[in-house]
Symmetry: C2
Subunit: 606 residues, 2 copies
């Protein structure tokens, strides 16, 4: 048997019986403190599912005007929704669950957020302090030990979540709580990773010192970590010198720009320096793709040949906000034919210029200084593309065996997606077709491109939609969803109706797990999903009986696709679902290519 971790996280001695403060002018109930702190960071919607151990906390939500509760159908969905909210708002997401049964149901969503640098505060209402102290601790929702002779551990779940969170705090008394809460949130915002607050159900009502809400300013929470100013200047100078001395530089914009809020810096740099730019697979929509110097999405050998050509013609690459992983590196081919000396990496944890590595320097500050210091006249203009952007990013055709193919849909989406639209894409084959699109100004793309948990996008789009409402976004919400993925988290469609968000949904019905059919077992039943779902009835069943808020249509031909796209452009008020019938084995070219590549790596790097 594998050893059980034996770490004394908390002993009962840590638990303080004299927990509440004497009431005074500045005291405030703990629950209210938590929601006021969350609100102070610009977050106005929290997601979750009620449970007996978090009801006391939820009550305090109603003391804070402007805070909204978005109850979800289950906890995994609520974690995905909080993730979507965070990505779309560029603020912290917040999810509230109950002890054990709730928090464990959400853990895969949290693991995905951790994997993709999404800051989420996960508050878990736990067994009360009184139960933790009591001798009989076989409490419901608490997994016992293997032997009945071992007492249950009320802190067992705290230990389980350590690998998927940057920080955990368990509240045990009033005096420490505000500090714990604030420390936790600062860590979440620093690392852009989920963190956990464990709140015993009998502590939500106790009084804490409310003065901290004023003393610790919002700015202090969002402030990036201080770095050595002279080092920052030294590094910025080195980067600029390297640029001045090359002949054909390019920026490769990546996902961590968005997560660490340097997107605007990078866009300004690209624009002011008149420098050529590419986005990575995960970094798509970080750069302004309508900028004349933007070329396309580069993902190593898994890119359009023209994009590869322009990328590799560069003699200096500034890879900014880089997240190097299997998927985002074109299966380890991202720097093919690029010499180490031709590469500058700007990452939240380090800057690397050629072979020189600098740590304890923050890329936000370096970019700031670069923007101030740069001499545009010294920046080489490089080689201009001879092809139009449309020619470079042509969507490659493969033979389509049904009236509508994914490739055809991608062609149509190129024109359908408008300025400021937010597009959420499910993990699935369509995700690997989107790099060929050139997005209009202000359009943003969201998906779980690295962790790749299917079912993510449907609830995440709820979160994106709520964030768009909270932030008064101008654009539309578009969801590209798969049939197998949708089945995973389908109940949250009911929340689209309830929360009155109005995405345009393309439900790609290819009768199963097409991604997996391509990998193995094209005809095997294990790649079948639950069959014959009546997708166009889903909103009627899930809360919109008379279709007053939604409309749906099944489309099978190119002509029908044109019709619904045209109709949608002129009719925006209702939630729309279009069931797009596709062939079981129809995928965008890059997906076939990538699958072959990962099966036989030698083939693609040779």
């Amino acid at each position: 048997m594998a050893p059980v971790p034996d770490i004394a996280y908390h002993t009962l001695n840590d638990l303080d019986h004299s927990w509440s403060m004497a009431p005074s002018a500045s005291t405030i109930p703990m629950g209210e403190y938590i929601f006021r702190r969350i609100q102070s960071l610009g977050v106005s919607s929290v997601f979750g599912v009620p449970g007996d151990f978090n009801l006391n906390l939820l009550e305090h939500l109603y003391s804070v005007e402007g805070m909204s509760w978005v109850g979800c159908a289950n906890e995994l969905n609520s974690a995905y929704a909080a993730d979507g909210y965070s990505r779309a708002s560029n603020k912290m997401g917040c999810v509230i669950t109950t002890f054990g049964v709730g928090e464990l149901s959400a853990i895969n969503g949290i693991s995905g957020a951790f994997s993709e640098y999404v800051p989420i505060l996960h508050i878990v209402g736990t067994t009360p302090l009184s139960a933790k102290i009591a001798e009989n601790n076989h409490t419901h929702h608490l997994v016992p030990k293997l032997s009945v002779f071992e007492p249950s551990d009320h802190f067992t779940y705290e230990k389980m979540v350590a690998p998927v969170s940057c920080h955990q705090e368990t509240v045990v008394n009033a005096s420490d709580a505000p500090g714990q809460i604030d420390t936790l949130i600062r860590q979440i915002l620093k690392y852009k990773r989920p963190g956990y607050l464990f709140l015993p159900s009998d502590l939500a009502d106790i009084n804490v010192d409310g003065d901290f809400l004023i003393q610790r300013t919002t700015q202090q929470f969002y402030q990036s970590v201080d770095t050595n100013q002279s080092l920052t200047r030294e590094v910025a100078t080195k980067v600029l010198d390297k640029i001045y001395n090359c002949s054909n530089p390019a920026v490769l914009g990546d996902i961590l720009c968005d997560r660490f809020q340097v997107t605007e810096h990078v866009r300004a740099f690209v624009k002011n320096a008149c420098i050529k730019s590419f986005s990575t697979f995960m970094g798509k929509s970080v750069l302004d793709e309508s900028d004349s110097r933007y070329i396309g999405t580069y993902n190593g050998v898994e890119s359009n040949n023209e994009v590869i050509g322009y990328f590799q013609a560069s003699d200096l690459i500034l890879h900014i906000g880089n997240y190097y992983n299997e998927i985002n590196s074109g299966h380890d081919t991202l720097y093919n034919n690029i010499d180490e000396e031709q590469l500058i990496l700007m990452h939240p944890e380090y800057i690397k210029i050629g072979t020189e590595l600098f740590r304890n320097v923050n890329f936000v500050h370096v970019l700031d200084v670069m923007l101030q210091m740069m001499d545009v006249s010294q920046i080489p203009r490089g080689i201009s593309p001879t092809l139009s952007k449309k020619e470079i990013n042509h969507i490659e055709h493969i033979s389509a065996s049904t009236p509508i193919s994914q490739t055809h849909l991608l062609h149509k989406l190129q024109d359908f997606i408008k300025e400021d639209d937010f597009v959420v894409v499910e993990t699935g084959s369509i995700m690997f077709g989107l790099p060929d699109l050139v997005l209009p100004k202000g359009a943003r793309l969201f998906g779980q491109h690295f962790y790749l948990s299917i079912g993510y996008a449907l609830p995440a789009a709820l979160g994106v939609g709520v964030a768009m409402k909270d932030g008064n976004s101008k654009g539309r919400l578009i969801l590209l969803e798969g049939d197998g993925s949708a089945q995973m988290t389908i109940q949250e469609f009911g929340n689209y109706v309830y929360q009155q968000i109005t995405p345009i949904i393309f439900l790609l019905n290819n009768s199963g797990y097409t991604v997996e059919r391509i990998i193995k077992g094209p005809q095997r039943e294990y790649n079948d999903i639950l069959p014959n779902w009546n997708w166009t009835e889903i909103f009627k069943t899930f809360g919109d009986r008379y279709e007053s808020k939604s409309e749906t249509k099944k489309i099978q031909t190119v002509e029908e696709l044109d019709q619904v796209m045209l109709y949608t452009n002129n009719n925006n008020s209702k939630l729309k679902l279009f069931e797009v019938i596709l062939d079981q084995m129809d995928v965008p070219w890059r997906f076939s290519y990538m699958t072959a590549a990962s099966k036989n790596k030698a083939k693609i790097v040779g």
Copy 2:
């Protein structure tokens, strides 16, 4: 920040490159070995969701005739289904998921199974051995570390599941694999708890020694642990002596009888000894309730007064298969007014006679010896109840504010449930009404009475239904489901249609989380669920468009309830869902009582 467990579970040195055996007459692919072993234990259906890291394994399912794949809509549901399958079949459940995204989605179902002694083999298809060894280990589905300077840990999930499993094995080569697989399964069956097999995706096809399949017999797997024979005899004698010397003995049958397969022993003992019996809250249906000596469900102060009276009149209680926890002890009132010397506890880990504790003795063997040795003439007949069983277990009325109340439904269920019916009850207020029923012979009740994770019952009933089909059960499947709970795991209704299981479903629609409204916030929106679902359309939407396999009806009155129950008794072929409209605050009496009790414990023990 809480410390991250730093345990060297596996180092890369453990991983063996020379993994495959030379083919010989007895070699067999690893995947086939696994499925043949599972089948040898009487398990013929496995549940799960495909993913790129388990497809190689799933292929081998088709080499084993008689094994069935039950693909589920998501992983949490598949874990619940495997749990239901195990409970109903009294065999091991099996669930197959993929690395990270799949296994973590299932973890709450596994935690519930661990909490309620349900043996489940959870097989996780992991990253291939080649990826674990490779230098670049930022693989999809694998949560990275907090810092990019720390390498990802391909074994991180193995560590996370330790608290919810009795044993974990990671396969790394061919020679050790059969031993690892068999050891793991023996542990699962010994502890009746879930265990994990982590199988790298590139090892499913390698050859292993198939001889073990014959050498290690099925009996060896199910065999209970040997104990000291003279101690067993000594303990059995002491128990019998204690019975011979009392005047009014009773058996309290509990859940672990069922889990550790001593139900038949206990039933035989109760019958042969003509001894009075009670079941616990969790142990309901362990005893034959049609037996004339069966009195009712006893759960401390949370019992009918008549049951309490008869229980406390006993001067010796044999509590067999006891699972003492918050819920199953009537909030710690189970032994009220029972002296320690009047109590015999027979548990898988120990026997306790009065104040004497015996460990290393198996209650299966002790019961065996008791059955052989007992002299029925010496067993006192005790006091016979003066009331009829119906009078003792009367379902207490509370005022009903709607045409149908839960109390009324319980009255009707008393007659509706027939011999050999399997009843699955969701976590919710109705669960706390069922103790007042007296079940007919062969009827069984399933629910997650201690862990209490809502959403469990709907997919668990799928597993129960599949087990009933596999085992050619005679009775019907009845599901008592709540509206809020059903929303959690609703997609698995599609699998009812696909797998052609035909339960009778009572969907209790009380417009929200009634359990929580009773505890706090009766009018708060956080206790609302997604509103206005059209429950009677659900099967049409989820695969049975023309209602060829299902029928549904919304019922609001006592008369309509009578009608559908009568109709159902005469029409069994189709899956049926009855949406029962209830008042938001209508609950069985015990639930109100229990909630008040747990809020103010002093009140109930005083």
